[in-house]
Symmetry: C2
Subunit: 248 residues, 2 copies
DNA sequence: AGTAAATGGTTTAATGGCAATACCATTCTG
DNA sequence: CAGAATGGTATTGCCATTAAACCATTTACT
């Protein structure tokens, strides 16, 4: 009965530094900067973000502390995104979500709903060229799985889901899903398969799901697209819980 | 094909003040503070938001400039939320969305999708007590419409939709919808019916929609819940376009 | 080899958002 | 009329942030 949600939560300190950390983690989580990749130079980030270089450095030092990046000097130096395993190590999940595993589950559910809504909407709005893009990404994924190429599979997987979101023709949906993804990814990157031991079964399940989802979108069967996407997104849940060493 | 969305948008200046403006607008848009209502005192806001009173005042002055609130002094003074018509006047919509009407449409579509997803999810997850809450809000709404009580109808409408979102049992969905609502509401409050001349027909349409939505949720007919909610949310689109004096 | 260029790392001083505090002006309550 | 609660104003100081140098390291180019 009482629906009094207080929006008036405290404002964080060091707001600019925090905002930069936020943006960089978002970009990393979104796959704009894959592990091993170099971030833009400090001077460039300062200009892009319209802040001083010192502030950028403060933000970068936070990311270094969290083990998300490391820096190298020299002409070809820079800030490099750490490998997934390095980030996942050291209990990053616990550091972010603490003991509140319920919130983690809730976040994953929200992400799953987001992807499912995207697939459902894509089923209604997709054009022929959308279908071409999705099916192209699926072919890539299948090829990478056959080749036992986890890196390629990861890239193709991102492309596939991205193509579906594009097919929903709703840019804000894209933003929302990304911002939700970030909440998980900053501690346990979604694109985590590269380090998973049980790649094989996961990839096979993902491949089946992808094919079913594409079929649903092609036939404009939105219930199918929704349901399979929803369950599919929960793969990440299993992976993360596996990381935590808990079976539930 | 190219899916390179740059997350690295500039960091705003005066971040704390901006954050407070943001939170207050969200709260207002969410209906936590209805028109005519008094906001918490400056000193109280400062404590709640964990900022200095000067910062709160800076934020309030922004809201005053935008015509969202006005202040009165004295013991019973404070910052009062302006009436809808006052906010809607003066081309506030144009000021925010500029000439980019496409983005406005896109935002409304995203909101509609959000409400529709909430209704669909509610259809799957609702408990008996959820149904009681929704149906209670609907009764209130019907009563207010019969009484020709626009204020009451507005309040009951908010309650109805809120109850549906609650029934989806996904708190983040609630956050997301609110943050989307805010983008519109800060310039053209969604709960705008109080000032609409064509209250009657709108209320009747809303009442019919509400009943159909409740029926869909009761019968767990998620397609029905989704579709009617989606179209229902577009009522706001018609209202805003009407405000703009454009027929499309 | 040697110079230039591009990067991260460091220091410094100036700026300005913000916090803390006190006090004034206004208006209602007792 | 006194007190209390509010918005409005002014003062002071802190510190996050900026800007501008300069240093250290590594690579590219001549």
């Amino acid at each position: 009965m009482p629906h009094t949600d207080n929006q008036l939560t405290p404002v964080p300190d060091n707001p600019k530094t925090a905002a930069i950390v936020d943006r960089l983690l978002t970009a990393i989580a979104a796959g704009d900067f894959l592990p091993g990749t170099r971030l833009p130079s400090e001077r460039q980030l300062a200009e892009t973000l319209a802040v001083g270089r010192s502030t950028v450095r403060n933000a970068l030092s936070v990311l270094i502390d969290r083990g998300c990046i490391e820096t190298r000097r020299g002409r070809t130096g820079g800030a490099f995104v750490m490998d997934v395993s390095s980030i996942a190590a050291g209990g990053a999940v616990e550091r972010v979500f603490g003991s509140d595993l319920a919130q983690l589950d809730e976040t994953i559910d929200a992400i799953a709903l987001g992807y499912a809504l995207a697939a459902q909407t894509a089923a209604m709005r997709r054009t022929e060229s959308d279908l071409t893009a999705i099916s192209g990404a699926l072919d890539e994924f299948r090829l990478a799985v056959d080749r036992n190429d986890p890196r390629g599979a990861q890239a193709a997987d991102g492309k596939f889901h991205h193509a579906i979101i594009d097919a929903a023709h709703q840019p804000m949906l894209h933003e929302i899903i990304q911002s939700l993804d970030r909440r998980i990814s900053l501690s346990a990157p979604l694109h985590i398969w590269g380090s998973a031991a049980q790649q094989g079964p996961m990839h096979q399940r993902a491949l089946d799901d992808h094919e079913t989802i594409l079929g649903g979108i092609q036939r404009q069967d939105r219930a199918m697209a929704f349901d399979v996407s929803y369950e599919h997104a929960k793969i990440d849940r299993d992976l993360i819980l596996g990381l935590l060493g808990r079976d539930q």
